[in-house]
């Protein structure tokens, strides 16, 4: 026994060896050559034709190889595997190409200037070395921060009402939350415009924009939180209550900590929903070229607004500024995501 355990080495017999991979490699080569040949001979031309033929050939080759080496079931398995990879590629390729496009077109204009200057003394057509995005970055940070601070508690408490309290109106509340998540973003902007500005006579400011964004963010946070809370096993609730805790203590000490990472995801999805919104901002923040540090007074700007404005100007440099704005927006959103994850994982997280 001891000699056996001494001579035993950890191995992975389930991993494919080079020899067993030979048919797959040959199949891949065959697929590539066959595709090139078919595209060369047949009337199918161009990138699209190539992709279609490649997918078809890949499915056929892998299925035939599996069928020959094993049986029909293995062939079906291979077919579905290839189709799943193809589906994944359809998601990843556009996403990667969008990111690549933004990076190549937007990152070229990045310099320290853009974080320290605004556009108050610069025309959009001036070279990129002049002026900057500071006013738009500050505006977006204000908007996202205020909208998150408002909608995170409201969204999570709504979800708690539906899942934990199960109050009389839980069904109606859920219905309205679902209806709210279908609101077109410009309607949210119009609502704030009609009530806050025309009705109450206030002027443009970042706070109004944040309120419009919060209207869009609350249903996203509430619905995602609801799904997350539903996943918490009932055992935990009963265990807490059986320990002599009130319902509030059970929720605060057991349910929310257990659901924490999911709730953070809910907030992140909410931020993702609103950070790039332009339409409601057009009606609420007024737009500005200069830095405005007061979110509750005076016109403000935001990155999506800046992109929209420069794209509309249409000159070559203005369009470059728009790309720069998109790039910075993505970076800002990414920073928000990271921040939410770090804050969410600060204490007591599992795994």
């Amino acid at each position: 026994m001891s000699t056996l355990s001494l001579s035993a080495k950890p191995q992975r017999p389930w991993q494919p060896t080079f020899k067993s991979l030979i048919p797959d490699i040959l199949g891949a080569l065959f697929t590539a050559f066959a595709t090139l040949a078919i595209v060369g001979i047949s009337p199918l031309k161009g990138k699209l034709g190539f992709v279609i033929v490649l997918i078809l050939m890949a499915v056929i080759t892998t299925s035939v190889i599996s069928w020959i080496r094993k049986d029909r079931k293995a062939a079906l398995n291979s077919t579905s595997t290839v189709l799943v990879y193809v589906a994944a590629a359809f998601v990843i390729v556009p996403l990667a190409s969008i990111l690549w496009e933004i990076f190549t077109k937007g990152a070229t204009g990045v310099s320290l200037n853009i974080f320290s200057n605004d556009m108050s003394a610069t025309a959009s057509d001036s070279p990129l070395t002049e002026g900057g995005l500071l006013h738009a970055i500050v505006g977006t940070v204000y908007l996202v921060l205020i909208a998150s601070v408002v909608s995170t508690p409201i969204g999570i408490l709504t979800a708690l009402y539906i899942v934990e309290v199960k109050g009389k109106f839980a069904g109606i509340v859920r219905f309205f939350v679902q209806a709210m998540s279908g609101i077109p973003s410009i309607v949210a902007g119009l609502f704030i415009y009609a009530v806050w500005m025309i009705g109450l006579g206030n002027s443009y400011n970042a706070g109004a924009g944040a309120a419009a964004l919060a209207i869009l963010m609350i249903p996203t946070v509430a619905r995602t939180s609801e799904e997350v809370l539903k996943l918490i096993p009932n055992d935990l609730r009963e265990a807490g209550l059986a320990m002599g805790a009130t319902q509030w203590r059970t929720v605060a000490m057991i349910i929310i900590p257990a659901a924490k990472s999911g709730l953070v995801t809910a907030v992140i999805l909410g931020i993702a929903r609103v950070a790039g919104e332009t339409a409601p901002l057009l009606l609420t923040i007024g737009g500005a070229d200069g830095l405005n540090l007061n979110p509750f007074s005076g016109n403000n700007s935001a990155l999506p607004y800046y992109v929209w404005k420069n794209l509309g100007l249409g000159s070559e440099i203005a369009v470059q500024r728009a790309w720069l704005g998109v790039f910075v927006l993505i970076v800002v959103v990414f920073i928000f995501f990271t921040l939410a994850r770090v804050l969410g994982a600060a204490k007591g997280s599992r795994k």
Binding site: D235, L236, E238, A242, M243, T250, R350
Partner: protein
């Protein structure tokens, strides 16, 4: 039915009987515990279980005032329109272990959930009858449910340590959940884990998460957790159903040690277990209708000399 009531209407009666019975069976107790191998060779006959019941080490049975502990009187329960429990009366005295046996779906779990007011969490649930703790009806108006549940702890079928808490936090969670004041938390932590038979296994890893323990250890962690608030009664709903024999044995030892100071009600499908750990056994059965308490007596009685034919059929393995 009338027979049951006769048995149960006077809460002190079974206690007296049991004292007598204990004396009697004490004298019969053979030295050396029945080995599992011996049980197997005897097959499932009436004798093996009654032997187990007789050989079971006694809990010392703290002498107690009459009527102390928990008592259910004429408890009925419904889910929606379905009548699931009919007229159950039982009393559980301090220092004793009571096992509830019976086939699935006969209402045992429902019954113990009525004892600490967990029954009311099922939206369609309804109830009739009274449950007394220290002569006070726990279903009376104005009773603070959370205080009741502090005094009547519960261990569930599936181990359910709180996932966001460490082992230490899990044990002390009851203190924080119920906002109690405790002077020496470390002492309490150690004593609870010792009483649950888990201390030696986890003393070096108190700051790991509860989910990192094995199933049997998690269940003992849950027992330690419910002990931390110092309950008078511990309800256990098939606590060993998901555990291996070693962990089961450990938990049974724990039950025996605990029964010296508190009263324990345990639901189990394992009749060997009922025979090993309990002082009293109640047999539940539902004949298509609501579940009833068919027979209640000392464990020795139920497994060796049951009054009811149906009990005998069940404990000897003729059905169920």
């Amino acid at each position: 039915m009338s027979q049951d009531n006769e048995n149960l209407s006077t809460p002190n009666n079974p206690t007296n009987k049991s004292e007598a019975n204990r004396e009697e069976s004490m004298s019969q107790t053979k030295p050396g515990v029945t080995s599992p191998a011996k049980d197997r060779t005897q097959s499932v006959s009436q004798n093996s279980l009654s032997d187990v019941a007789k050989d079971r080490p006694r809990s010392k049975g703290v002498s107690h005032q009459f009527g102390s502990g928990l008592e259910a009187r004429n408890v009925h329960a419904w889910f929606g329109k379905k009548h699931v429990l009919e007229d159950i009366s039982m009393s559980f005295d301090t220092g004793t272990v009571t096992a509830l046996i019976g086939p699935s779906g006969c209402g045992k779990s429902t019954f113990i959930r009525t004892l600490n007011r967990m029954h009311e969490f099922i939206p369609t649930a309804a109830l009739a009858g009274e449950v007394f703790l220290d002569q006070k009806d726990i279903y009376a108006n104005g009773v603070d449910v959370t205080k009741i549940r502090l005094k009547i702890g519960m261990v569930f079928q599936k181990p359910n340590p709180f996932p966001s808490m460490t082992i230490k936090e899990n044990v002390l969670s009851g203190i924080r959940l119920a906002q109690l004041k405790v002077d020496n938390q470390d002492e309490l932590l150690e004593s609870c884990l010792r009483r649950a038979g888990l201390w030696d296994e986890v003393k070096d890893r108190l700051n790991e998460y509860g989910g990192a323990l094995s199933g049997g250890q998690q269940q003992r962690l849950c027992i330690a957790r419910s002990l931390a608030v110092n309950p008078q009664v511990l309800l256990m709903d098939e606590p060993c159903s998901a555990l291996d024999p070693g962990s089961t044995l450990r938990i049974e030892e724990t039950i025996r040690e605990l029964s010296e100071s508190i009263s324990i009600v345990i639901v189990t499908h394992n009749m060997q277990q009922a025979a090993r750990v309990s002082d009293y056994t109640g047999f539940f059965l539902s004949d298509g209708g609501p579940g009833r308490l068919i027979e209640l007596g000392t464990t020795t009685e139920i497994f060796s000399n049951p009054k009811e034919k149906r009990t005998e059929d069940y404990v000897t393995g003729r059905f169920g």
